[in-house]
Symmetry: C2
Subunit: 283 residues, 2 copies
């Protein structure tokens, strides 16, 4: 496994691979890798012959007062994880390497970025879209792999790639969960034991929503009521949003129709946890 | 010369050329080609082995009430010009091909796009940057060629390419002028004979500015005064702006320092004409 810290270095490694006719997959991450990331690396390995993992805690997607400083950066462990997962190149640039001058060009994905997490994190998806555009342009992959856990992020990036005619495939992989249902997230480490014990209620609220839809419920308020009831089982959990949105446009819905994403964000201690499921009712 | 009307067609032609090891140059145009465009094609031909010219009157860079409908579209003549200039591929997509769904992803280049032409044409450079990002992603050129005549556009695109790490070179070529100094522009055809006769005053005002700087003048107000005097020689000319800006950031200056762009925009009849020069005083 090679480690590239500069744009030039990763470009040269990728162009070598390309000259050998290899299909290149990119897994963009902020490090603190868990089994969810490993599943993305595995998906990339199955679909491509050359896998690049980027590890970069991107400052431009954090707002003031967010956890940019606190975000875990266990680089040695991450490199070991990548090595074991058969990664070809880790691209681990510094912030200075990624932002060599004051950033003036930004990618905005209108309509998809303002709701859900965008409401409490203004500018977050602009930072995400922009850093992904940069990574795509630096690495030049045939495909890039994202987790459904960050469902709005996946929708934003997919739309960016489509609208800007980026010559790559965006692959969204299923959320990986702990045995008790909690979605894998680097931010789960912020939880105390007491908080961790109630954290599965987040996914349970989504299961309750799915059960309601399966029983024929189409009214979003009624579904939210079911979810609120589950989350209310612990007073440690402060819901931020419970939403049903169009699976591609992220538009808030009042009635379930077609392929929808049911998404939830909560505060739990110092952590902010998000999760979602995609539901497509029979009719 | 091949003509591609779809994204798939142009991509397949370019990837054939690339497999033959050719360096690919792109000249993005809105058609109505004149000698200025031909000079870009020649520059592309000198630096690359495979030249793509895109011809696309991009709706998203026109504001309400602007000349999108009236903009000249002499396709047969343009194709002849391209053939004679030795172009390999003309990419001439429809608006439907370029915007297959409602566009939600946009590239904004902050700070460079708001002044000068951006003031009277809000959203213009967002449309320009976005369509160029799309064209770069569709064609995948090694270099793209623009004219200094659209100096702010060149600065916006250069900054976009740098900030988003686009893997191509942006080449800016000198403005081509008529014998009397008028900068070549597809919009010159809007001028009546009477208007055409006074149009050279636009460049003359820039020459007056350069002469003032050469004589040691550094105060922008004094330079503008010189320019205004020249433009005032015809009451047909309505100045929109006379500006001295930093050559890269497009920041308005009060004193000439370093490499600056002196830029002018006027209304002349139904036409809006722009021109600029780059000046770098000795000290």
């Amino acid at each position: 496994m090679q480690i590239a810290e500069t744009i030039e270095a990763v470009r040269s490694l990728v162009s070598q691979a390309r000259r050998q006719g290899r299909r290149v997959g990119l897994v963009p991450t902020m490090g603190a890798l868990h089994r969810g990331h490993v599943s993305l690396i595995e998906a990339a390995g199955a679909a491509c012959d050359f896998v690049v993992v980027s590890i970069f805690v991107n400052p431009t997607q954090f707002g003031p007062g967010e956890d940019f400083q606190a975000y875990p950066r266990p680089m040695d462990e991450d490199l070991r994880t990548c090595r074991e997962a058969g990664v070809d190149v880790v691209f681990a640039p510094s912030a200075k390497q990624m932002y060599r001058r004051p950033q003036k060009a930004w990618v905005d994905v209108e309509g998809l970025a303002e709701g859900l997490c965008g409401r409490s994190r203004p500018g977050h998806f602009r930072g995400v879209a922009t850093v992904c555009a940069k990574l795509f342009n630096i690495v030049g992959p045939d495909a890039a792999f994202f987790g459904q856990k960050d469902g709005q992020q996946a929708a934003v990036i997919r739309r960016m790639a489509e609208d800007l005619d980026m010559p790559l495939e965006i692959v969204v992989c299923p959320t990986v969960r702990e045995a008790d249902g909690l979605a894998m997230s680097s931010r789960n480490q912020y939880l105390t034991a007491r908080e961790r014990a109630v954290a599965p209620l987040v996914y349970k609220s989504l299961e309750a929503a799915r059960a309601a839809v399966d029983k024929g419920e189409r009214n979003v308020e009624a579904i939210q009521e079911q979810m609120r009831r589950v989350l209310g089982q612990s007073e440690l959990i402060q819901p931020e949003y419970l939403s049903v949105v169009d699976g591609r446009t992220m538009e808030e819905l009042k009635q379930v129709a077609g392929r929808v994403m049911i998404a939830v964000a909560v505060r739990l201690g110092t952590a902010r946890l998000i999760d979602n499921i995609v539901v497509e009712p029979a009719s």
